[in-house]
Amino acid sequence: MMRRRAAVAVFAALGLFAVAQFGFGTAADADARFRDPAFADKFARLQRVGDHPTLMLGSSRTLLGFHAGRFGQATGSPAFNFGTPATGPITHLVYLNRLLDRGVMPRMLLLEVLPPMLADGDGGPAEQPFLSGERLTGDEVKLVEEFGFRPDAVRPKWRASVYAPWYSLRCQVIGRVAPSWLPWNHRYDWGRKTDPHGWATPPRTSVTDAERAEHVAKAHAEYAATLTGLNPDGRPLHALRRILTTCDQHGIPVTMVLMPEGSTFRAMYPAGLDGRIAESLKSLGVPLIDARGWLADDDFYDGHHPFTHGAERFTDELAKAVRGVSP
């Protein structure tokens, strides 16, 4: 009798564990909040902004720098900031596809081009470490592999999210129910800390010279090597091209934007790289707004992420520039 009870307990454990994994895996496929809260939370806000907004896809520079509410007032039509940290053209393509699948039809797409994210190499595109496999669906895994993501980097994590989602998606779940239990960079809560138009207030209001120097040095350590060996014609550029083709098919006008950078950051670009990037982007055949020199060094806290006043100044200038390039 005791042995029978023990056998029942063991089999029940196995069965219920499998059910828990399968159940959550199914839920994760059905609801993007479980797989990619960074996207889902922004999408939830976007739905409240209204139909056909001007949409800006970009990285943390966009997230902190594009004051979409202000932009909307200046241009007279709603705008939304879909900036997400550590993203580049391939992630933007994934996000654009998701938005279109969900029926979002922007009036205009402002597309940030973050030059370091154009980097490509044998190890994969620069954004590969950030767009982890568990954030993607099976079809999206195939898509990112098409643009150079290494299968051995992206597939195991995606696979793990299918058969062990409670482990694989733990940061997404804990980041929602108890964010303070995780380090800030694993919380996936960027999309929940924005204003109704998706703009995140910059975390700092001022910095001392020493703090700025420290932040700039950190940015240098993060980007200098990438920029030194950067070939802007790699697979991320193909992803940009795919975004433009997709938008063209849906009749969405696109303007690319090079976001503002401080003089210390711009000094990291090796000689000639500016020209090559500009040439590559011009070859795509859509308007390009080069805003790299729009802000002063004091407008940034680390050479490329602006303070609030920097974001406001950039947004005002962008509104004027967009009016200039709008068809």
Binding site: A6, A7, V8, A13, L16, F17, A164, S180, W181, P183
Partner: protein, 498 residues
Amino acid sequence: MFAVDPPPTEFAYFRALHDLLPEPFFHTQAFLVFFAAVAAVYWLIPRKWNLARVCWLVLASFHFYAAWSFELAFLVLATTVADYLLARWMDATDRKKRRLALMLTSVGMNLGILCYFKYKNFFLDSLNEALLKLGQPAAFHTLKVIVPFGISFYTFEAISYAVDVYRRTIKAERSLPHFLLFILFFPHLVAGPIVRAGDFLRQAHRPKRWNWLRVQAGVQFFLLGVFKKVAIADRLAMFCDPVLQEPDKYGSAAVWFAVLAYSVRIYADFSGYSDMAVGLAHLLGYRLTLNFHQPYLAVNVSDFWRRWHVSLSTWLRDYLYIPLGGNRGGAWATNRNLLLTMALGGLWHGAAWSYVIWGVLHGVFLILHRQFRGWTETKPMWAKVLESWPGTAARVAVTFGCVTFAWIFFRPDLAGSLAVLHRMFVHGSGLPLPLSNTSLLVTVGVVFVGMLLWRSGAFQWVWTRLHPTLAGAGYAVCLTASMLLAPPDGKGFIYFTF
């Protein structure tokens, strides 16, 4: 994960093995696949072919070790064979001097290997530092030596075997495969529990039947171990690791919290590993010593050592403290023996002076407790107060405080330990804890509530009356919670470095 990982081997077979099982950790997917394959074949071998089952486990254990470093796996194999032969020879002779010489050869070989791999650089560094202090240049060159994992555990098992055979407490094992399994059995090979030959070999010779009760016990222990390791220990590491590495950057309050987190982390990490080892052994039909009995509910330091790393503390008692004279030579000799045993116990944990200090601190606590106990025996009122409920709670708190204080030295970096102490007792402002204090206190609270429930018997009472389906649901929830609460980055086992 290890201080020095072995270089990649030239042999394709072992290189492939390493790729399949890169870390000797029990809570990894690769290990679970390995274990499932080993257990499946093991139970498919007919019961009457017990020797074949033993040989299969020896083969699996060798591969488990060789996946990390096949050269060192052969070293362990070779010394185990040598221990086997020396013991057989010892058993075969009645000449006392020869028996003594053989026992000393076996013990010397094991201690020699332990000293060479683990302590050589420590002694040479200490000598060099002493020479520098005397104004002389450093005269000894240290070598980059890969410390075989689990070396402190299996050498102690081999030493106790040689001594037991010499004392004629047990007979020398006649079967080489059985003896190899005693040392190499993979659930206890890496970090114990330190098993005794008499207990283990008796089990190895007994043919085993598949038993669902045992399987349930194994699953239960394993899942409890995974939860302790992943959801508690690794989570607490997020609080204590950054703070203890750079205490000067953090405020004093953060350092106090980090020390608390470290104390509970060490318990959850090591007892979690031990529970997993016990669980895996159960699944193969073996019973290993339970290494922990709610140690942080101990009412004094002596009680703590009856509950903490039981297989080591009993080993030190039987093979060091008692041979040194134990408590048979009066107060002074007893205190000396305690201090010596604990200092060597500290050194066993790691080749650094900080571990020696940790051991000495425990020796001092044990001596103080002996004195205090002697004093209270003459004061019945005091004894009554201490036995009361609040008195017991106070004793538990004081013991936990002493043990936690000593843990500050339980790391290889003595200067770092002193910096932590300085930050704790000299108030300074700085960064807060890396994560919210609430999550730390909840995690620590779960550990203490768990211990109290276990100690009171409430857990066992509920568990034995629970419908088996609900028990199964409990296991599934335990594993799912472990997965969910695992921190973003995995951590190694603290005791694997010993």
